[in-house]
Symmetry: C2
Subunit: 156 residues, 2 copies
């Protein structure tokens, strides 16, 4: 099912999620000013800050920090999924991978798919729900993927 198209916007609890459920949201566009501002604060590498340094790098031009791509797509994933469910927090993130550079003006969208779920044995009020998040550019090319190990309340 495409849960993002559901008519209701009620908070989804653990029992209302099924493996394979997919939630989608687009879009966000990363401007050059946002890319250099983010990098200046959190990832001050020359190829994220300066055109000439970017051109001299393996990226062949100014590219967004991978952390910026991750954070910008997490915003979309929150709108699509994390704020739609009774999300208690993340235990962690696995396999964060950057597949293609993101350049100024690129527009991104995300898809969130539930991959596993199980009730916590130690805390029966919650379930462990893992999701795969995929960020895609306007050409349909995957730019970033990661897995969130999340916790969702059993009852609202």
């Amino acid at each position: 099912m495409d849960a993002s198209s559901a008519a209701t916007e009620t908070t989804l609890t653990y029992d209302e999620l099924a493996v394979g459920d997919t939630f989608e949201r687009g879009s966000t566009t990363l401007t050059e000013a946002e890319i250099t501002s983010f990098a200046g604060e959190y990832d001050p590498q020359p190829f994220h800050l300066d055109h000439d340094a970017g051109a001299d790098s393996m990226f062949g031009g100014l590219v967004a920090s991978g952390l910026h791509t991750y954070c910008a797509c997490n915003r979309l994933a929150t709108e699509a999924f994390f704020s739609r469910v009774a999300f208690m927090g993340g235990r962690g993130v696995d396999e964060l991978r950057w597949h293609r550079p993101v350049r100024p003006g690129d527009t991104l969208s995300v898809s969130v798919e539930v991959t596993t779920k199980r009730v916590s044995e130690s805390n029966p009020d919650r379930g462990y729900v893992d999701v795969d998040v995929t960020g895609t550019n306007a050409d349909g090319d995957v730019v970033v993927t990661w897995t969130v190990l999340g916790m969702v309340r059993i009852a609202a």
Copy 2:
């Protein structure tokens, strides 16, 4: 060796890095305004935005987004390590884990340790260098850890 105390600040190439080398840098303090601003942009969950919602959550108070903790510590890790070496970019991040909440006013420092290295077979101008990054609060408690799968140039 504690490479961060090295007298020279020259760029370190692949051959100048050894497994076990550790680089340290502190500190950054996350203010409440920074925590809510970052969360509003990239991780708009109630427990990152509002005291009452934080108090009602499993965190028992307003806490920083895990992405914010990761990004703030990445800034320190960049100063300590990634900008000190001939860093070409990251292939990805594994096992990003949040061990303790970070609250307004918490001061963080980081340690970066080289864990594995090997020359690329397909691109002999570069080596794969993986590092473990650990973020710690002022009490010495670990708050965040992750592994960076990085690429470092063989020659400067």
